[in-house]
């Protein structure tokens, strides 16, 4: 019996887990996938937004500003990358500039520090490669970038080091309230917990319904991205935005913390919660949108593309509230969800306190995630040539909380396969290492769990 079950191991669920692991509570995080961070948390822009965008007084606004202030320290504690590169919202017309002026006012009211509306000259100084047609911008120096899945993996790893349990491939199928606890079942297993935190992303509405709450609906909104070679990571110094619309913040151009250049996302409402395909039209939109802001983007240097699905609620703001007995919904966490995640965690802990959960702080909470040494010169055999990843790092990733059990999980933890050759050289070696370390057959190793096997059997037709 656990005190708290968290459904969903995305950045929100794991930040809550980490926060709760500071108290004397038994916590278990459940996720239907074969790894953490498999939903929107691995397919977003990685921006820690300054917080001028959301409506004043909304949860989005309050928690964004608060969360973004907390992020630097958390990334230091977790030893993950963080870069305070600043954001620019570019204006091309007078209309844009008045929208920018509104954003400025909103930002100030939301408590964002350091905001400035700047002219073309200052913009050119800050960002030499920006389009000649730009006439001004909103400059938000507190904007930052992180690697969202690196952060998610580190946060849950730290929570696990502090006693939290993680159950992967646990797809919640039914939730039953018995006396004073819940029985949560997948096809294979049942677990018990006194309180449930529903952070199930795209499926938060379905999970809520299992507990008898049908007060909201989630629909997917697809965003497609392109990633360019690290050679062009410094094409822009700041994260470049356009003036936002109803559908979102628009197509941005930003370096990633790993030094690549990221373009995207698009914004398209779709029906299928499992449709993560990229499309010709979508990728074309990304290219045109990005070129408008930074005309010199070398499209020949695209190394990959991907898409993510935002979980959009029908309510307009984050849904973070008590629902049925001992049940909290955290739903509709689209942008600025990543930025807000640490603040969402604090908010949820407060709610739990109000609901009667005894919050006795642990004396031995370890906030710092120890990572294996960053000194690459000690690592021996190199497996991923493009990113210089050693066998040692890959083996560590397989055995460190949360353990990597497939090729994509290794990739997210080590970056092996994320370079120019996109795994062409290293992937067979990673499969070999996984088979060896997990003591499974080579042909059982998957790309991301389930039936995504890399190979289908031995040659010579012998199984």
């Amino acid at each position: 019996m656990y005190d708290i079950a968290i459904i969903g191991a995305g950045v929100v669920g794991v930040m809550i887990a980490r926060e709760l692991s500071k108290y004397n509570l038994s916590i278990c995080i459940l996720d239907k996938e074969s790894d953490v961070s498999m939903g929107a948390s691995k397919a977003n822009s990685g921006i820690i937004h300054a917080g001028y965008d959301a409506k004043c007084g909304s949860l989005k606004a309050i928690l964004n500003v608060k969360g973004s202030k907390m992020m630097k320290q958390i990334t230091e504690e977790l030893s993950v990358k963080y870069k305070n590169n600043g954001s620019l919202v570019i204006g091309y017309t007078d209309e844009d500039m008045s929208a920018i002026s509104e954003l400025y006012d909103r930002g100030v009211k939301n408590g964002v520090e350091g905001l400035e509306v700047i002219d073309k000259m200052k913009l050119k100084q800050l960002e030499p490669n920006i389009s000649q047609n730009a006439i001004g911008a909103l400059f938000a120096p507190t904007g930052a970038i992180v690697c969202p899945y690196e952060l998610t993996v580190a946060a849950i790893g730290n929570a696990m080091d502090n006693g939290a349990a993680l159950k992967l491939e646990f797809e919640v199928k039914s939730i039953n309230l018995l006396n004073d606890y819940y029985e949560i079942s997948s096809h294979k297993e049942t677990m018990k917990a006194k309180y449930i935190i529903n952070a199930a992303g795209l499926y938060a509405d379905e999970v809520a319904r299992m507990a008898g709450d049908d007060s909201f609906e989630i629909h997917p909104r697809k965003g497609e991205y392109l990633i360019l070679d690290k050679e062009f990571g410094n094409l822009t110094k700041h994260t470049i935005f356009r003036v936002p619309s109803k559908m979102g913040k628009g197509i941005l151009v930003s370096a990633t913390v790993d030094g690549n250049l990221l373009l995207g996302p698009t914004s398209e409402d779709i029906l299928d919660k499992e449709d993560k395909s990229t499309t010709q039209i979508g990728m074309s939109k990304v290219i045109h949108g990005a070129l408008d802001n930074v005309p010199d983007i070398p499209l020949k240097s695209v190394i990959t593309s991907f898409s993510g699905l935002r979980a959009v609620a029908d309510r307009g703001d984050f849904i973070i509230e008590k629902s049925k007995t001992n049940f909290i919904n955290i739903a509709g966490i689209e942008s600025p969800g990543l930025s807000a995640s640490p603040a969402i965690a604090l908010y949820v802990v407060e709610l739990l306190g109000e609901m009667g959960v005894s919050l006795t702080p642990k004396t031995n909470f370890k906030p710092n995630r120890k990572i294996f040494a960053a000194d690459k010169s000690k690592y021996g055999k190199i497996i991923c040539r493009c990113e210089h990843i050693s066998e040692y790092e890959i083996v560590k990733a397989i055995h460190t909380n949360p353990p990597a059990t497939n090729v994509d999980a290794v990739k997210r933890r080590t970056r092996s396969g994320m370079g120019r050759c996109q795994g062409g050289f290293c992937m067979p070696h990673v499969v070999e290492i996984l088979a060896r370390e997990l003591n499974i057959n080579f042909e059982e190793v998957t790309k991301f769990g389930g039936n995504s096997k890399i190979t289908i059997g031995k040659t010579k037709g012998i199984s």
Partner: protein, 417 residues
Amino acid sequence: MKKIDLVIIGGGPAGMAAAVSAYNNGIKDILILEREESLGGILQQCIHNGFGLHKFKEELTGPEYAWKYEKQVFDLKIPFRLNAMVMNISADKQVTFACEQGESQTVQAKAIILAMGCRERSRGALNIAGTRPAGIYTAGTAQKFVNIMGYMPGKRIVILGSGDIGLIMARRMTIEGAKVEAVCEIAPYSGGLTRNIVQCLNDFDIPLKLSHTVVDIHGKERVTGVTIARVDQNRKPISGTEEYFACDTLLLSVGLIPENELAKSAGIALDKVTGGAVVDQNRETSKSGIFACGNVLHVHDLVDFVSEEAELAGHSAAKYILESDKQAEKEITFQLTENISYIVPQMLHSVQNDVIVYFRVANIFKNVIIEVRDDEKVLYKKNIKKAAPGEMECIKLNKEILRDIRGNKIYVELKQR
């Protein structure tokens, strides 16, 4: 810091041939650094034949060709390290490599030969829309699974790209029990040797769809199919021509890119078209004492020419190490007509021997003349019946002609007859 006369990066056919050549030209203090578990490079997984017809007058498989050089390296006791990945080369020839035993090492070389080969273009670089399931591999990666590790990447295959690697894998997968549904090629002609069309596709009734490309990939966890479409003369998909092919694997054979990250880190000038270093007839790059040969310099069709080029580089590196005085050299650059994609070497310095230049044409041409001239006169002329981008051409320019050049440009022109 340990000093080594000649460091060779890559122990494949280029690296080994360069090493043997340097040895035979007087350099004994050599170190070959190879990232894989054995020498031989990509040849170890190229188990098909067709190698060595020019060099050894016999038709060898990849591993047999590799052995011809491995044996020489072993017999001459040329030092090499396996599982050793070079991480960096500095402009002043310090080479840092990671090795199995733990800490990385840095050595000071007098000369370096770059022989790192090339990598394959990936799905991501092509922007193919669709899902990202398991089952999408470059042909070389699939070849490694099948021929080295003994595992089948899939059972029902579509191949994009009709260059030799794609064709060879079509046959290889078929004889190991897979069904190859089609080979698609975006160009209106195949990039591979005609003999491979016959013995890899025709022999197995595998359809070749020219002027087609893959526009969508389907499947959630594993590929379930691809959509292909015909393309127009600008290689853009034509709406309405889409065709679905059920399959569990998509193999990509869509281009090789010389692996020059180390060259970039050393500040070596690269040719935008080849992706490899700019070199002179000695295969010396823009950095004195750093040479390049093989696929890292420009993608070759035949390994026989790789060996030839590597021998030249090895000889040049040996000369560089042994000769102390380096005089100022007259530099002559090549100028090409637009219908020639590239030429290697891109320049000449103080010609002392005959020079073989290698070039590729930009399109398929029939009945053309290659004319080489300087500012005043024609130096060389050759009729070519058929030239294609997939078949590298070479011509030999005599040292007497080259020493007599007026001006510092040589023009290489492709003209219709």
